[in-house]
């Protein structure tokens, strides 16, 4: 059984301009010891979905289920949820400077986290644990640095301190929301290495939210591609990068500058992501899709199994046989290429 199983999650926010449908019928599952990558562009609902599961979206209308070890997180009261947060589920956010309190020492903040959930642990013991954790994530001289303030840490060290804090109670699940977006590539490599090691050691499940397809290819076992609040395609990473089905996934991969390939024009996805207040009818991607058919404009496709593979699903009306799909792709892409389109 999966550690966390989210099914048919809907999140919407009433605003003066209308109802923002941030997440529309999202389902996914994470297993212990595995990493689930959620990719999508700004506003695709990837952060809102996970924050809602943790009860961090105030004022939202939520429906659906999020079963964590047999308990529904969405049905829990605040008090019960509080004990899940930190103890069983850790979170890392994008900006390490604003997620650490500037006024308190780093070690103190980790100790607080431990003692908040386990009142019986003595202060000295908790501090010892904090030193241990800082060493674990690769902070040099942890016994000294534990008394530093956040501003005395570099960006990469702060993010590692955040990981230490999130891991302090050995959570079963770690939600990392764009953990390396604010960091340089060399520091990003260090942080990803730390996360990988911790996962190997403790068997933690990780949900990694990112817009960087390179990071996903490197660390995720399974991938969910999100667009306009719902999952477009779900598969393991080899299928996503090697045999993707959905035109949006394909568009994302084609927009990347080819690494090591010949320099040619990029193939951006034309147009803009839709407004979440006024979604287009049918498939939300149809206004930007090169394969668009009449059916796409009226009917929103559910997730279909692709190529008879139960772990690879795609929300698209196109033929599901991967061989036929590839032939179709070659035809459409071939037509697109000779005309460099400037909007």
């Amino acid at each position: 059984m999966a550690l966390l199983e989210v099914s048919d999650l809907h999140v919407s926010f009433p605003t003066p301009d209308g109802v923002v449908q941030a997440v529309r019928g999202l389902s996914f599952a994470v297993e212990s010891g595995k990493t689930l990558g959620i990719v999508g562009e700004s506003g695709s609902g990837k952060s809102v979905a996970t924050q809602t599961i943790m009860g961090l979206t105030r004022g939202a209308r939520v429906s659906g289920q999020a079963m964590f070890e047999g308990k529904d997180l969405l049905a829990m009261d605040q008090k019960a949820l509080r004990s899940v947060r930190g103890d069983e589920v850790g979170m890392i956010f994008q900006d390490p400077l604003s997620s650490l309190h500037p006024y308190y020492r780093v070690g103190w903040q980790i100790v607080e986290m431990i003692r908040n959930n386990h009142k019986d642990i003595s202060k000295a013991k908790a501090k010892q644990r904090a030193v241990e954790l800082l060493g674990l994530v690769g902070i040099p001289q942890p016994d000294r640095r534990v008394d530093d303030f956040p501003h005395q840490f570099s960006g990469g060290m702060r993010q590692r301190a955040m990981i230490a804090m999130a891991m302090s109670l050995n959570p079963k699940l770690l939600i990392a929301d764009e953990p390396t977006t604010a960091l340089d590539v060399t520091v990003q490599a260090q942080v990803l290495q730390v996360m990988r090691r911790l996962q190997e050691e403790f068997g933690t499940a990780i949900i990694l939210i990112t817009h960087d397809l390179g990071v996903v290819a490197e660390v995720a076992d399974d991938v969910v591609v999100m667009y306009a609040g719902s999952a477009m395609e779900k598969a393991d990473r080899f299928e996503i990068f090697g045999a993707s089905h959905h035109p949006y996934t394909e568009g994302l991969l084609q927009s990347l500058p080819a690494y090591g390939g010949v320099r040619e024009r990029l193939h951006p996805i034309p147009g803009q992501p839709p407004s979440l207040i006024n979604l287009p009818g049918g498939c939300p991607f149809h206004p930007r899709c090169p394969y668009v058919m009449d059916r796409c404009r009226v009917e929103e496709p559910p997730l279909f199994e692709v190529g008879g593979n139960p772990t690879h699903t795609s929300a698209c009306w196109l033929t599901l046989d991967l061989v036929e799909r590839t032939a179709l792709r070659a035809k459409v892409v071939g037509e697109q290429l000779p005309t460099p389109s400037r909007p």
Binding site: R196, L213, G214, A217, F241, G251, P257, Y259, P343
Partner: protein
């Protein structure tokens, strides 16, 4: 962008910008009111560089390596501490603001943040019209016509002339920034992380736009970005910077295929590839520690405290930026022990990420 990646006249013909011994130090605020601080941040510390007409020069390096400061010194938005900048054959190092003004038509900047770089209370037409107004180029109906022309050029609808920046998406705002930079047909455009704030699908639109404009108007770009695959895509030549110095400078494919400096190797290996078949641990060189403080940069080669190949000599002698290991004259590296072709560089043994020297 030229076909084979190297400008035809790279051998020393048509230089648009020449930088010699450029240094830029910023004074550090003293913490005590009674003591004068003599500490300085060595943001750019001795850079020699030539930018050829019609090429794209990529500047890469980590946060704080001085790439933006260098670009701003070239555009004379900052005064130099030492050194010279020649633009189009003319020494502009000591020109006054008034003397610089006519030259500003020739060099423009596109900024990273499409939200912060546009005044939210002014209409798009007047933002893009600014360059025309400031330089007294066109007035009234003529100005409007030319603004709409340039809007069309960058893929904005001319009828959106009267809209406010808030009515545009991030990608469209970046187009406004491009239009403003392009308005007076400059020779040089400095692109300071122009696509970093954009989503990949939109990023590709802007990169294509910049490439189209370059071939249409024979523009020269200095392209700053921390995304190395973007830099590889757009650049003819690439300069890798570390702590205020250029450590390697070469035609783009040379830097990416046979990087000579250990830092270039580490930087390139850290880029996650969108290809899950790449074995992660086999190709990555994880650097230990953090970038040292530019207030007290390390002696000798600045990279030596983190370098897997460092030897005693590196902490004493600052290596010159010269061709190494039989590289052509266009490929220069500042390293005593450059990486051979095919050499496998190891992460320093026994050091896990972050151990080693404490951060400054």
């Amino acid at each position: 962008m030229t076909e084979n990646g190297v400008p035809a006249d790279a051998a020393g013909g048509d230089v648009l910008v020449r930088v010699q011994g450029l240094k830029k130090y910023f004074p550090v605020q003293s913490t005590s009111a009674f003591r004068r601080s003599h500490e300085q941040v060595h943001a750019v510390d001795g850079v020699d560089l030539e930018v050829f007409r019609g090429e794209t020069l990529g500047l890469v390096g980590e946060t704080g390596c001085g790439k933006s400061t260098l670009a701003r010194c070239i555009a004379r938005l900052l005064d130099l501490s030492e050194g010279h900048v020649d633009f189009d054959g003319r020494d502009i190092t000591n020109l006054s603001a008034r003397q610089m003004r006519p030259l500003r038509r020739e060099m423009q900047i596109i900024f990273q943040d499409p939200y912060g770089s546009l005044n939210p209370r002014r209409r798009v037409g007047s933002i893009i019209g600014d360059p025309f107004a400031l330089h007294g180029v066109a007035d009234g109906a003529e100005r409007k016509r030319r603004v709409q022309e340039v809007m069309e050029l960058v893929g904005l609808k001319p009828e959106h002339f009267n809209r406010f920046p808030a009515e545009f998406s991030g990608g469209q705002r970046q187009r406004i920034g491009v239009a403003r930079a392009l308005a007076l047909r400059p020779k040089l455009i400095i692109c300071d992380e122009p696509v970093s704030a954009l989503d990949v699908s939109i990023q590709a639109q802007i990169i294509n736009l910049l490439a189209d404009l370059q071939s249409e108007f024979n523009l020269t770009y200095i392209f700053i970005a921390h995304d190395l695959s973007v830099v590889r895509h757009v650049s003819d030549r690439v300069a890798v910077m570390y702590l205020g110095k250029i450590v390697e400078l070469a035609p783009v494919e040379d830097v990416y295929q046979v990087p000579r400096h250990p830092y270039s190797n580490a930087l390139l290996s850290a880029v996650p590839m969108p290809d899950p078949n790449q074995k992660v641990d086999s190709h990555q060189i994880i650097l230990s520690g953090d970038v040292p403080s530019p207030i007290n940069p390390p002696s000798g080669c600045r990279f030596h405290p983190r370098c897997p190949k460092a030897q005693a000599k590196c902490s004493v002698d600052d290596p010159a930026l010269i061709p190494v290991l039989g590289d052509p004259p266009g490929h220069v590296t500042a390293c005593h022990f450059p990486v051979e072709t095919g050499e496998v560089m190891e992460s320093r043994p026994g050091v896990i990420a972050g151990e080693g020297a404490p951060a400054a």
